[in-house]
Point group: C2
Chain length 590, copies 2
């Protein structure tokens, strides 16, 4: 299926929703000066369009296969991965000390969106690798770094995250895999992990598994979990590959989507034990995981944006070509492209603006992550870190929710053709469905937002976010040209609703936590409508300053008038709809 | 996968949302007296649970296959169909003159829901047959009836509907298949039809195709389309089967869902022409189709209810068994069933109450169809006919929309397991996805509601529906016990929003039809929230009268406080959000 990266929209979002221009001016993004961002994105787009997109649909049809413990990826996958590594794409964000380019998360976010749109099932492999690089770089010993990091940064070796076990999904306290300390400082790891993305494959020389397990005698619960590096092939002192480690893939899941991404059941220590090395301290494995969590959740969020984006593109193209029915009020003329029908156009506008809003939220989150590392003074870094923490669950849940909604609308716009696999619209919907689930279900994101993030810095982080939105609303109120329609009014109501619900939740958390948690999911949606709508307005204001804002204004207006209108009702259901959570029993389904 | 028909909830809905008890008392449903309804439903449930449900998942995995023009259905399909016919299920609604039981649509609606929940891909075959029976019984000549009807009523022969062509989907004016009159009164039919459900299969002795085509020389557009009977095998005078007709299946679609239902490309007249007979008058084929339309759309709507229902059942069962995380405010105790987590319970409540509301709307529609045929005086029949016409697009679009939403939430409740095909939750979501598309896309339903139904009987049909809702609200206002919480307030706001938006649309249709059509889809949703919510309240009032209403009150309250709260915002987007439809051009997707 064709894909064309929406570069002008991406640049508009980077510059005016996520402050890239400001960051270049202030020096935080000095490494993006001289048009580097645009140049990188151009090349990233070419790679996505020319290498990844052409094998996306065929990969879905072929899937990955397992025979005699060997996983064979779909036709074209190996060659694409070779090009990926040769092009240096894997090293974009890796540490400079080990061959990486250490470019900002903000630029990487745009690249990840493009590659995920072109081929989510492929891009998952390097995304997992980036997380593994971060864990080893941040918490690994010098010996581990020396052995693994440069190969992982280049992509010569890939990385995996082994967390889930059959009884331990969202609840990692239940992890049972175990690690026995050995005299030489290594550990022997035993256990079964499920849902391991690219746990086994044929694209790279080695696979570096990061595995959560309990050291013998560790305490129960999350405070007894440690993180280990377990390579597929042992690594000799000279860096060459040695014997096969005692870890293998025992099965592939048959999934609803991302068929070309092998989802493996991994057996560690079927015989003598899989040899592994501790990352960080014993029993502090979850802390190592938390280091990566914001980045990993943002990468996941971008998959939602990506699939929404390509679904929108594909549906729009179809609606321009498909002719059915007469135009409104023009009974005489023959069938028109369905994009002329108001109801079809509504669907396309919903798709386009939800995508744009989620993209803005994700890029803003990436910018906050960059500021948390790059800002010149500690208080600015701390503030930015708080903002990243506040926005991350929003980015993850809102983007993956709209990924589901937009890809489903994409099927709808195609009519009967959308239900036929050949068309490709169905694949985006099937692929998107996992994003709201993995890397912390969206319900867990909403709980995280309510329980841990609203109160950050005694509420100052939240207050700053509201003030930031109100500043844009003030600018919008001054500009208020007719083209904006009721944008200012509706977005103000959305921000008011958000603040009202946040204040209510603050009280409820203290007095009736079950009531607060019952409203977490609709509250997160209100946040998304407010933050996303205001960001679109900011983009529209900037674009009209640049003299070319008609489309941006149309987007902001539609989002405000047709989608942000949901915010007051959602806030009401947060504040006055939680009685069900206090019922002692729950009746059956019916 | 197991399925247990929710008979008590179905009976509550039949009796108190769809007036079955009133109808029995008044004599309109005198044929349901003496517990017949309950007895039929018990047996229908057994058939669904014991025969259809056990082959649903295996059928999805195996699918139907085509070889040498022969379609082989999934293992177990033929045997189940034999039991279906032997049990007399196919004849439930057929005309008594040809061996049918002519039972009310209301009872059939409940049966169709049960069978579709147990196995939608199977049930599609008899559903199509029921439509074909209706067309032949209503419009066919005596000769056609004598030849085909009793076999079709019993299910010995199945029926199909051949409407769609590659260039003619929603827009039947573009149909190109043609029919050449023959001296003996028959026609030779030529053309290619796509998306033909059970167009070819191995379950019955003959297949009776109903085909839209243009008689040679017919006018262009919809006024030149005729309807034909084209049998797979010619029928001899003695009723035995003769030669194979010139019609065959040239391909099966690979679809996102309903894999076990063969979706056929049918070639008519590849050689000498497929022999067919006119149903009704030449060029009046669409009128024959319209006869069936309300029933067919209701049957489709029930598929949405059905998949929502079984998805809710399955997710609830899973949430009772799966243990992850601690209970709110109880950090010390070990992992609890996830149904105890407020956010999971919210998802289950959304699933349960959306399902219950859609069921109520569908059964109410079926009751209106029955009254339109059975009411003693002509004005009551006309009123009921208007009500059925008003409610049908609502039933079809709202139920299939919530079918998508609820089955997707079902996947979500399962977490990572939901994305794995083995679990079964994903199948419901994939199967459900077609329902919002076929039998008139939901956008077309919304346009039908706004353009054709609001003004029925000069608005009197709509006014009666609003008055009916307000009568229930008045009763609720009198009862208003604490358990109802804000039910009365929220539902009143929903009905007010509906009326406000309907009045606005009435004006807009006259002055700016594009603006009116731009709001059709959210308007239909407001109708669903109002009508569905009020019906749940009516059920809760009746159930508490019977002394056993705690669950019904909980459902009505949740729906009102957490879902109907969307109505005012949606109405606002209808009335003040249509500017996008007046923009001359539409930008690209991004």
């Amino acid at each position: 299926m064709d894909y064309k990266a929406p570069l002008s929209q991406i640049m508009l979002t980077l510059n005016h929703a996520a402050g890239m221009q400001d960051g270049i001016a202030s020096g935080i993004f000095s490494d993006l000066d001289d048009g580097l961002a645009a140049a990188v994105l151009d090349e990233a787009a070419k790679f996505g369009e020319d290498v990844l997109a052409p094998i996306n649909h065929s990969g879905d049809r072929a899937g990955a296969s397992l025979k005699d413990r060997v996983v064979t990826t779909a036709p074209g996958w190996r060659a694409a991965y070779e090009q990926w590594v040769a092009g240096g794409w894997n090293a974009l964000t890796g540490p400079a000390s080990h061959g990486g380019q250490a470019l900002p998360h903000l630029l990487n976010a745009a690249c990840l969106e493009i590659w995920s749109a072109a081929n989510m099932a492929f891009t998952l492999c390097p995304v997992l690798g980036m997380g593994a690089v971060e864990a080893v770089a941040t918490h690994g010993s010098e010996a581990l770094k020396a052995t693994y990091l440069s190969k992982m940064v280049s992509g010569a070796w890939t990385g995996t995250m082994n967390l889930t076990e059959p009884q331990a999904g969202s609840d990692l306290a239940l992890v049972r895999s175990r690690a026995e300390p050995q005299p030489d400082g290594s550990y022997k790891v035993f256990g079964t992990k499920i849902f391991i993305t690219y746990g086994e494959h044929d694209m790279a020389g080695n696979i570096v598994h990061l595995v959560l397990a309990r050291v013998t005698g560790a305490p129960e619960g999350i405070k007894g979990i440690s993180l280990f590096v377990v390579p597929k092939f042992m690594v000799n002192k000279d860096g060459s590959l040695g014997a096969r480690n005692d870890v293998f893939c025992s099965g592939l899941e048959e999934k609803m989507g991302i068929h070309a991404s092998p989802t493996c059941t991994m057996i560690f220590g079927d015989k003598e034990g899989a040899i592994g090395w501790l990352i960080g301290e014993e029993n502090r494995g979850l802390n190592c995981m938390f280091t990566m969590m914001n980045n990993a959740r943002l990468a996941t969020a971008l998959q939602g944006v990506a699939l929404a984006s390509i679904a929108t593109q594909k549906a729009t193209d179809f609606a321009r070509e498909r002719r059915q029915g007469r135009a409104v009020g023009d009974g005489a003329l023959g069938p028109v492209p369905i994009i002329q029908h108001p109801d079809v156009r509504r669907n396309l506008m919903i798709m386009r603006t939800l995508t744009a809003a989620a993209r803005a939220i994700c890029y803003l989150t990436a910018q906050a992550l960059d500021h948390a590392h790059r800002a010149p003074d500690a208080s600015a870094r701390a503030e930015a870190g708080g903002r990243a923490a506040l926005l991350t669950p929003l980015a993850k849940a809102f983007s993956s929710d709209i990924g589901n909604e937009v890809t489903s609308l994409g099927v709808q716009v195609h009519g009967g053709m959308g239900f036929i696999e050949e068309t490709g619209a169905a694949q985006y919907m099937r692929d998107a469905r996992i994003v709201a689930i993995y890397e912390g279900t969206n319900g867990i994101q909403a709980i995280d937002l309510v329980q841990r993030k609203l109160g950050l810095a005694d509420g100052a982080t939240l207050a700053r976010e509201i003030a930031d939105m109100r500043a844009t609303l003030a600018a919008l109120g001054q500009r208020n040209t007719p083209g904006f329609g009721k944008t200012h009014e509706r977005l103000s109501e959305a921000v008011d609703s958000f603040e009202r619900a946040a204040n209510w939740l603050h009280q409820a958390l203290a007095t009736s936590p079950a009531l607060a948690l019952a409203g977490a999911t609709p509250f997160l949606r209100v946040f998304g409508l407010a933050r996303g709508g205001v960001s679109l307005a900011a983009m529209a204001l900037a674009a009209t300053n640049d003299g070319d804002g008609a489309e941006a204004v149309q987007d902001a207006r539609f989002f405000a008038e047709c989608l942000a209108t949901a915010a007051p009702g959602l806030a009401l259901s947060v504040m006055e709809g939680g009685a069900f959570a206090l019922e002692p029993a729950f009746a059956g389904g019916h």
